[in-house]
Symmetry: C2
Subunit: 196 residues, 2 copies
């Protein structure tokens, strides 16, 4: 009987291995062959799922993004407004208790998305979804009377987007300023500044 | 008589050409040979100044960083505290009147600095200098009684760093949210939130 291969599981296994390798060695340094070896597959087996390094990076980014999106939805089930915004940033910011080192992968994806229209579109779809989540929480805060009266929602969507993005950069490139206490203090100030 | 070559000028000319090429075509897409051709030099002539692509990228980043640093120092001559912070962000954020497209080069450099210890150190020296500038303006704001009493200076240094960094990312990857009016509104809110 031919061996039954679970393609979804194999794909996922490859993506997880790739994520670790990119974080540890850097995307530019690794070859498809090294990724295959480390993940325990023949080079051709990986190519069957991912024709090139960019498709591997995209899959790794989407996994990180979707995992965090699901985490936020679970954590914010039944939570609204500013509490939900606070929980969201706690999950997105690179706390040491979470997936801090994934910020490196995010920086690599941003750069490639800036250079490649297809990767740009994939990133854009996802960040628009994230920004819609932020907008919803801000609208709830307004409905519930939590939000400062003079706050402009689109302006605050931008400010929270830059905050979440900026911490990805800072945690990788200024690690000494990115301790858990500093991350939490910055979230608390963000929420205080929004509160009526 | 042998031709006198102004090496500093030639170096600067190469760096300017490279910056434009990286922004237009993407760092990953261009080869040293294409950069040389576009800048009007023989391949060997470029290699004499820059042995590899990374050294070109580093020189381009340092030029962008130092130019903006000098612009800020000029603009903030005789200006203190929150006014200086506001002027600083106006110069760093990618307004269409400025060097908006340079954000793409910044994203490329961040990614490479995350992967290469030497580039990390170069970036780190510069961002520490930038953060010291922010800290000085915040301390002036405190001395002058402009700063909110409960503001923690290190926390605000981080928050302003993430703000400036986050807008580099947003302007490249969410351009429709990064109009001049949105940039200015976000700076005004940042300053309002700091004010006593």
């Amino acid at each position: 009987m031919p061996k039954v291969v679970d393609h979804d599981e194999r794909r996922l296994h490859i993506v997880d291995a790739v994520t670790q390798i990119i974080i540890r060695d850097g995307f530019d340094r690794v070859t498809m062959r090294e990724i295959a070896t480390e993940a325990g597959y023949a080079h051709g087996a990986i190519q069957r799922y991912f024709p090139n390094k960019q498709s591997l990076l995209t899959a790794a980014f989407l996994k990180v993004f979707n995992d965090s999106h699901e985490q936020i939805e679970r954590a914010c089930d039944g939570v609204r407004g500013l509490d939900a915004l606070s929980k969201m940033s706690e999950l997105l910011l690179p706390f040491s208790t979470g997936e801090a080192e994934r910020s490196k992968l995010v920086l690599t994806f941003w750069d490639r998305a800036a250079q490649d229209p297809e990767m740009f579109d994939i990133h854009h779809d996802n960040i628009v979804r994230r920004r819609q989540m932020i907008r919803t929480y801000l609208e709830q805060a307004r409905e519930d009377g939590e939000l400062r009266a003079d706050a402009d929602i689109e302006n605050e969507v931008n400010r929270i987007s830059t905050f979440n993005a900026g911490w990805q950069m800072l945690s990788v490139l200024v690690p000494e300023a990115s301790g858990d206490d500093m991350l939490q203090a910055s979230i608390d100030t963000m929420i205080d500044n929004l509160r009526a």
